[in-house]
Each structure stands twice: as structure tokens, then as C-alpha cells.
């Protein structure tokens, strides 16, 4: 088996040679990012603006594949021990601690002060500053929230629900009165994927519990967590949610609500623009509210999400790459993104009250309050492992293959074992 060791050593030596430093002459930065959805793509314009301000630096933008799993695999393969093929990367907020621990992200602390981060939402900053460094700049913000049919609620003399119990009652009352078999109560995302974890976490929080305790304990209050899962399953069993929500993602739930076939929808801010489009059947009739709490628990809170910008630690152009990240996260660039009407929202809080922006998007101040009250998913390098471990268990509880208690016991046993292995 010695030959294999030799081959390995030779391979490692080859890989080790790849690193080089900044040289003189023109610099080309490669920026890896997913396409920003919206009526127009403002990114190319921003990059040209950056080039104008930094003579001698040009930026090439390389598209990232669409799904989150693929993006993650792309990064793992291309950042893990490989020579740098890109300098600046857009990454999902839940990956920041993982990439930081793996040593793939440049610590921006020498360039970026805490004051520079202060104008961003605290939930976004928390992920960016895991473990004391500054691993990324917040770029886009996302938050889970409740959409409701304002016209239907008004018609029946109701206001947006404060608790899930109230929501169920309202949904049943309205459906009984409307006598429309095609009108569903509440739609949410129950398919076995990351979105399900967001939905379940929100019910955990509303029930006053969480997935990871402060001391790192897994599922510290299993009773409350089981109640939360049982409540979600109950939504389907009572018929408040259709059975297919257990296989639904964002778009599968957004469409029926947008067609006027549901009273409530749990989703993200991007959907509002689509509901307000000229040909939308629910235009002008959609209200937004914080996610409800549980009668026995606390007030509700949405899960935050979004994208950050990081610098590849092995970049040959540190200063230029850091400059690009700071430029894109700065107020002027985020304002330009927001003004272009993209589906993702800024991380800078002040923009939500900016008169010019609010004029075009009157709901911005509401989104600000929602995002400020929202909570991040567990900020840990093991997040992906955490999430993919609980997904099948949560899913099993929702389709009643397991009881909530069983599902949580199984999830906890596995998580404790896997987290132990990461220590």
C-alpha cells in the first residue's frame, strides 16, 4: 500500500504549488453568484460602476447553478483544497459558519469594523460574525411571514390572527361561511427540504422552544417541540391545510394563494410583488402580518434567511476582492438592488424607511419590523448536518409515519451522535 501513499504525496505536492500572491498589472476578479431574480438584473451595472471606481480592476461574473444543494456541492468541491477559480462568492447565510470553520473564507476583520456592520439586521450580522471573525458581508435579507386575504378577513369582521389557534378558528369560520370547496385555510411548506426546517423552527419558537439550546443541547424541551409538530400535523388532519402541503415548496403554495384559493399563506417577502402584479387575481387584497404565536407559548417570529458575500481565502487579489464585497454591501449598491425591484430585500435597515424606496414599495416599513423581530436558524458550522438530519424526521411526523415524539427522539439521538463526532 506504500505506492498509494506515494501517489497521494505527489498529488498533495501538486496541489500545494498552486498558491500564488498578488502580482503587478491588471487584476481580474471572478465573482460567483446566483442570478438575482427580478424584472431586471442590476448586478452587471453595479460591477461596471465598481470597475470605474477601481481602475485596473475588472470583474467577471460567473453564474451559479440554481438549487441550493448544487451550489453547496459546487463550493465544497471548489473550495476544499482546490486552487482558486473565483475570488468573491455569494453564499447562503446558513453556510457562513461552516465555510468559516472549514477555512475557506477570508477573515474580513482587518478591513471591516463592527461599526460597518451595525446598519445591517442583527440576525444577518450574527451569522457573518460567527466565532468572532468577520466572514462575510450581509447582502440580501429574507424573512418568514404570514400573508392573509385582507378582503376575506374584513368581510367576516376579523383582524390578522395573533395566535395559531386563532388562525385556525378564523380559517374554519371563513371556509364555513364561504362554502367554497376550493378555498383552503393556510398553506405552508412541508416538503422534505430546507424550507420545512424553517416552517418547523417557526412553530418551535412560537411554542417557546428551539432546536439547539444555548448550551448546545439538542431539543432542550422535547414536550413543547412535540406539541409544535403535532399542531402542524393537526392543521392537515383538521383540513385547515390541504394534504398536499406535506409535499409543497414555496412556489407550489404561492400559486394557489395567488389564484385566490387560500386564506392564509406562510412564505417570504418575494411573493408580495407577484401578488401585486397587474394580472393577479388577489391584487390589492393581500395583507402581511407577523407569524402567529402559540396560545401556550410566546409571540411568533419568522425565520431569517438570505445571502452573504464572502472572499475566497485563497484569492490572489485580497484587497480588490474585499473592496468589491464592501462595495456591493454598501448602501448605494443595496439601494440600487432594491430600486430594481429584485425578489430579495436589503440587509441595511435604513433602506426600509427610505422615502424613495417606500414610495415604490409601500410595504417596506412593515418588512423592516418583521425582519427585526425575526430569528436566525441556528448559527453553527454544523447547520447543514443539523438540517439534513432533522428533515426526514420532521417529514415523517407530518405525514404521520411516526408520532411527533418518535420523530423527535430519533432526531435527537442522531444529532447528539453526529455533533459529538464534530467536536
Amino acid at each position: 500500500m506504500r505506492w498509494a501513499a506515494l501517489v497521494l504525496a505527489a498529488g498533495l505536492a501538486l496541489v500545494g504549488c498552486a498558491e500564488r500572491r498578488d502580482g503587478p498589472g491588471p487584476v481580474t476578479l471572478v465573482f460567483k453568484h446566483a442570478k438575482i431574480l427580478g424584472p431586471t438584473d442590476p448586478v452587471p451595472g453595479l460591477l461596471r460602476e465598481f470597475e470605474r471606481r477601481h481602475p485596473g480592476v475588472s470583474v467577471r461574473s460567473e453564474p451559479l447553478t440554481w438549487t441550493s444543494d448544487e451550489q453547496h456541492q459546487f463550493y465544497v468541491i471548489n473550495l476544499d483544497g482546490a486552487s482558486p477559480t473565483f475570488d468573491v462568492l455569494m453564499l447562503d447565510v446558513i453556510w457562513v459558519p461552516e465555510f468559516a470553520r472549514a477555512g475557506w473564507l477570508l477573515d474580513l476583520a482587518p478591513w471591516v469594523t463592527r461599526e460597518e456592520l451595525a446598519p445591517h439586521f442583527p440576525a444577518a450580522v450574527a451569522a457573518a460574525t460567527w466565532g468572532g471573525g468577520v466572514w462575510a458581508m450581509p447582502w440580501n435579507m429574507n424573512v418568514g411571514l404570514l400573508y392573509y386575504r385582507a378582503d376575506l378577513l374584513r368581510k367576516h369582521g376579523l383582524g390578522p390572527p395573533r395566535t395559531w389557534e386563532e388562525l385556525v378558528e378564523q380559517a374554519e369560520r371563513i371556509r364555513a361561511a364561504e362554502r367554497d370547496a376550493r378555498l383552503d385555510g393556510i398553506l405552508w411548506q412541508g416538503k422534505q427540504y430546507e424550507g420545512l426546517v424553517c416552517n418547523v423552527l417557526e412553530h418551535f419558537w412560537a411554542s417557546g422552544t428551539r432546536l439547539l439550546g444555548d448550551d448546545g443541547r439538542v431539543l432542550p424541551e422535547p414536550e413543547r417541540a412535540a406539541d409544535a409538530l403535532a399542531f402542524m400535523r393537526g392543521l392537515v388532519e383538521r383540513g385547515v391545510s390541504p394534504g398536499w402541503v406535506t409535499a409543497a415548496d414555496e412556489e407550489l403554495t404561492r400559486r394557489p394563494f395567488g389564484d385566490g384559493r387560500a386564506i392564509f399563506l406562510r412564505s417570504w417577502p418575494y411573493a408580495l410583488d407577484l401578488f401585486e402584479q397587474a394580472d393577479s387575481p388577489v391584487r390589492g387584497q393581500v395583507g402581511i402580518a407577523p407569524l402567529p404565536g402559540h396560545a401556550s407559548g410566546t409571540a411568533g417570529a419568522g425565520a431569517t434567511g438570505g445571502f452573504h458575500l464572502g472572499v475566497n481565502r485563497r484569492t490572489r487579489h485580497r484587497d480588490a476582492a474585499v473592496a468589491l464585497v464592501r462595495f456591493l454591501a454598501a448602501e448605494s449598491a443595496q439601494r440600487a438592488l432594491t430600486a430594481a425591484g429584485v425578489a430579495l430585500y436589503p440587509t441595511r435597515m435604513a433602506l426600509y424607511h427610505d422615502p424613495a424606496i417606500v414610495r415604490a414599495r409601500p410595504s417596506m416599513p412593515r418588512f423592516h419590523d418583521l425582519a427585526l423581530a425575526a430569528r436566525p436558524r441556528p448559527v453553527t458550522p454544523a447547520y447543514l448536518m443539523l438540517s439534513t438530519t432533522v428533515q426526514p424526521e420532521f417529514s415523517a411526523a407530518l405525514v404521520a409515519v411516526k408520532t411527533p415524539r418518535q420523530a423527535l427522539d430519533h432526531a435527537r439521538r442522531r444529532l447528539e451522535y453526529m455533533l459529538g463526532g464534530l467536536r
Binding site: V15, T65, W66, T67, I77, N78, G81, S83
Partner: protein
């Protein structure tokens, strides 16, 4: 009697055609405009269209993936043949020390589950810096293609009467010359079958390709098809067109070269 015979033949053909329906249905879907996708009662689309093929060929990674697959499958076949042919001859004809053990290893290798070897191979390719390259896939594919190829070729070589080779030796030819000039022409059909099977297996391979590739630089057809993007809705028509393109080489092989294919398949199973 003859009429009944005919009717039976036709019935069998119809049943087999029915078995192939899933493929034909995908073929139909690939020419069906999106607006008609829900109309399952029509056998053929009312307004056939090529837009799905256009979309796949012009705006997806499929063309590049087809190129990658073609290269990876061809290179795998070549590498496996270059390694496997001499080995098969050695096993069939020459007094190699430890031959019994080698044969056992070859047979055992055909049964190795890819899922068990994928993680060590991943670490190996990672250490060599080969992830996301054709080389990685050719090496990985060789690990399952080579044992089968050796097994098949050794069987074909054993079928040749040894006297043919003896005659060549009397003329003073060396082993390599005998293999190239005498044996190879005699087992050419067998080599063709084995090469076809290897090519097919490499073309269809998914697990290694999915694990070791990350970009369109090396992504093969099955991976591209498995990851076929749907931004807001699943583009069923485009996926159908992509599936048809992905199955083009296998289908051509089945239609045009199935005699060789059958020979290899049957040989693999019967030479127990």
C-alpha cells in the same frame, strides 16, 4: 395455422411495444407544446413542436454534458480495453503466478457496490486534485468496467482453438504479436460486444459522476439530467427532450448493434 402463427407474432410485438410505452410517451412529450401537456387523451400532440429541443440545445448545459459523456465513455472504453485485453489473454493462456487469486479478485470486483467505494475514491481524487475532471471519471469508471471486461474477453479467448496460436509460435512470433495479429482478429466480435457494454455502462453511470463533478466542465449527461433546472415550475417538455437526447447512444446501440450487445450480455451470464 399460419394465420394463427402470424397473429401470435404480431401480438408479441404489440406487447413488447406496450412495454416500451414509457419511452415513447417521453418521446411524445418532448414534441408536445407546454399548453398541451395536460391533454393525456391524445396519442399524438395536436401541434408538435421542436421548442423543447431548441431550449435544451441552446439554453442548457446539455450540449456540453453530451460532449463530456461522449469523451468519458469513450476514454473509459479505451482505457479498459488497453488494460483488459492483455490481462484477459494472460489469464486465459499464460502461466501467471497467483492467477487463481487474480480471478477471484476480478469476480469479486464485479460485485463491489459503488456506494462502498465512492467515499475512498472521493478522498483519493480529492488528494490528487482531480475532482471535477474527466480523468477522475475515467479512473472511477474503470474500477467497475475493467473486471467485467476481463471476464468477458478471457471467455472469448478461451473459445479460440489453441492450435491457431501454436502455428503462429512456430513461425517465431512473440506473445504480443500473437495477441495482436492472431487472437485479436479472431475475437473481434467479442471485443466489440465487450466494448459496447463498457461504453454503455460508462454512459449510464451516475453515482460517481454526481459525486466527483461540480461544473459543466465535467458534468455528464445523467448528472445534467438529474439536476435539470426548474426555476419556478418543472419544465416537463424540456426534461423530456433532454431525456431523449441522453438516451440517444443507448437507443442507437440497441437498434443498430443489438446483436453484439446480446452476445456480450449472454456471454457474461453463461460463462459461469
Amino acid at each position: 395455422m399460419r394465420v394463427r402463427r402470424r397473429a401470435a407474432d404480431v401480438a408479441v410485438l404489440l406487447l413488447l411495444a406496450a412495454w416500451a410505452t414509457p419511452y415513447f410517451w417521453q418521446l411524445r412529450t418532448s414534441f408536445t407544446p407546454d399548453a398541451e401537456l395536460l391533454a393525456t387523451t391524445r396519442v399524438l400532440p395536436a401541434a408538435p413542436t421542436a421548442i423543447h429541443y431548441q431550449a435544451v440545445l441552446e439554453r442548457s448545459v446539455m450540449p456540453q454534458a453530451l460532449g463530456n459523456s461522449l469523451a468519458v465513455a469513450s476514454l473509459t472504453t479505451l482505457v479498459a480495453l488497453a488494460l483488459g485485453l492483455p490481462a484477459a489473454y494472460g489469464i486465459a493462456r499464460l502461466p501467471v503466478p497467483g492467477k487463481g487469486l487474480l480471478l477471484l479478485v476480478v469476480v469479486a470486483c464485479t460485485a463491489f457496490p459503488q456506494i462502498a467505494t465512492v467515499s475512498p475514491l472521493y478522498l483519493l481524487l480529492r488528494a490528487l486534485g482531480l475532482r471535477d475532471t474527466w480523468t477522475a471519471l475515467v479512473l472511477a469508471n474503470t474500477s467497475f468496467a475493467l473486471p467485467l471486461l476481463i471476464w468477458l474477453l478471457a471467455g472469448f479467448i478461451r473459445e479460440i482453438p489453441i492450435e491457431v496460436e501454436e502455428a503462429a509460435f512456430l513461425d517465431g512470433a512473440g506473445r504480443l504479436r500473437v495477441l495482436g495479429r492472431v487472437v485479436l482478429p479472431l475475437i473481434a466480435p467479442g471485443v466489440a460486444s465487450a466494448a459496447l457494454l463498457t461504453f454503455l455502462a460508462a454512459w449510464n453511470e451516475f453515482l460517481f459522476a454526481y459525486t466527483f463533478t461540480a461544473t459543466e466542465a465535467s458534468r455528464t449527461v445523467p448528472v445534467a439530467l438529474a439536476l435539470f433546472p426548474g426555476v419556478f415550475e418543472v419544465p416537463w417538455g424540456d426534461i423530456a427532450a433532454a431525456s431523449i437526447l441522453a438516451s440517444l447512444p443507448p437507443v442507437l446501440i440497441v437498434i443498430g448493434l443489438h446483436r453484439w450487445l446480446v452476445r456480450g450480455l449472454v456471454a457474461g451470464a453463461l460463462k459461469e
